[in-house]
């Protein structure tokens, strides 16, 4: 996990080919033994490539910017408030929403593996699962934010959430200034995946 594949190693190509062959062989064995339904594999891949991703979370955040009653619900019982939009289940069985304010910035990590709120953010990005992020986020969060080009005033305290159990965390970033009058859909477009992990901020209007 310590080595990113930067595609600059000479053996990279053959190594990936070996993995391709290895995974194909494994899949064939599982299929021949009747352990997997090949059609289910296609549905799984399609689900996480086209249906379950960070646009789900963006919709939750945008709604919380527009609808105070929804926002209150989100910070009281995020699992239910998020499920009301149709997002629930695997790796998001219990979700807690974290409110960014002028004085607190939330940052989510899983130092022990790669726990991540799948129903609202989809599959975690490579960096989230990488040794640099997992090792540094808890000890030097401002340094990690700097890697993402984010600098917060010293007056903002950083609250890091290490996802060590089955609770999953969704950061609710602050609504960008000048976004008055935008529709929920337009607001959702401002909500980046990284802003819901805490390594980024929403786009400017």
């Amino acid at each position: 996990m310590g080595h990113d594949h930067d595609h600059d190693h000479e053996d990279d190509h053959s190594e990936l080919s070996d993995m391709e062959l290895h995974v194909r062989a494994l899949r064939t064995v599982l299929e021949q033994k009747g352990y997997i339904d090949p059609a289910a594999l296609d549905v799984l891949i399609d689900t996480y490539e086209t249906k379950i991703g960070p646009r789900n979370g963006a919709r939750v955040v945008a709604k919380s910017w527009l609808d105070q009653a929804y926002r209150d619900w989100l910070f009281t019982d995020a699992t239910a408030a998020i499920a009301s939009l149709g997002y629930h289940g695997r790796q998001g069985e219990m979700i807690v929403a974290l409110e960014n304010t002028d004085s607190v910035h939330n940052l989510v990590v899983c130092t022990l593996c790669s726990c991540y709120p799948w129903p609202v953010l989809g599959l975690p990005p490579t960096w989230y699962k990488s040794a640099p992020f997992r090792s540094r986020a808890v000890k030097n969060p401002r340094g990690v934010l700097a890697d993402f080009g984010v600098q917060l005033p010293a007056s903002v305290s950083i609250r890091v959430w290490d996802s060590t159990a089955e609770v999953r965390y969704l950061v609710v970033p602050q609504r960008p200034k000048g976004s008055d009058g935008l529709s929920e859909e337009q607001l959702a477009d401002l909500v980046t995946r990284d802003s819901m992990i805490g390594t980024g901020l929403p786009k400017d209007v």
């Binding site: 391709e20 290895h22 289910a40 219990m94 040794a131 305290s157 159990a165 609770v167």
Partner: protein, 219 residues
């Protein structure tokens, strides 16, 4: 002695974090398949998520694997451990030994419902919670000889209970095949200085989610 290679919090010697665009999910075709077969085999109910984490984190070459390489190596280890697949079959790329019967097989038609249901770990309470929000607690200081979810950086530290999440399946026993043995789960917050010393950011905090047996009252 049980050795996890996954407990990375606070470890030195790691470079910068490399950001990645939002839509970039896979970096090779086999990674898609690695995701799918891992999820499909997980859905058979042969092992639980804590056992699979335990198998992954104890792979001796953990540091040298990419994420999906780790998933595949862990999957093969689980398949062998449970007698579902043998090495010669993976090498040959075909079935050489009779299949074992599984609790269930994930069918395409059931995928949406299975994902939507997930595997909730919240259980009903058999005892009162020992701690309440605001309580000062100390985490256990010793390492344990099995899978655990108390990171090394948070061992033997003083923190404050910030949330009570109810009784949850206990990862430590669940991973070892010793059953769910649910325990109260808490969010416990530490100051950065308690964890990292006086050089740390004065206002930053770090929280973990900790099962009750990880904690004792701070005296």
């Amino acid at each position: 002695m049980y050795e996890s290679h996954a407990d990375l919090g606070g470890k030195a010697l790691h470079g910068p974090v490399i950001p990645e665009p939002e839509g970039e999910l896979f970096h090779a075709e086999w990674e898609r398949m690695a995701l799918a077969i891992t999820l499909a085999m997980g859905a058979t109910g042969t092992w639980n998520i804590d056992e699979s984490r335990s198998v992954r984190e104890t792979q001796s070459n953990y540091d040298s694997l990419t994420y999906y390489q780790l998933w595949i190596q862990g999957l093969v280890a689980l398949l062998k451990k449970h007698g579902l697949v043998e090495d010669d079959e993976v090498a040959a790329g075909k079935m050489l030994h009779p299949a074992k019967s599984l609790k269930r097989v994930l069918r395409a038609v059931d995928v949406p419902a299975v994902l939507a249901k997930g595997a909730p770990t919240l259980r009903s309470a058999n005892s009162a919670a020992l701690f309440a929000v605001g309580d000062q607690v100390t985490t256990r200081s010793n390492a344990v000889d099995h899978h655990t979810r108390l990171p090394a950086y948070a061992r033997g530290r003083n923190g404050r209970v910030a949330a009570v999440y109810g009784p949850h399946v206990f990862a430590d026993t669940h991973a070892q095949g010793l059953g769910e043995q649910p325990q109260w789960l808490y969010n416990v917050v530490f100051t950065a200085r308690e964890l990292w010393g006086e050089g740390a950011d004065a206002t930053s905090t770090v929280s973990i989610d900790a099962w009750e047996s990880y904690l004792e009252p701070h005296s």
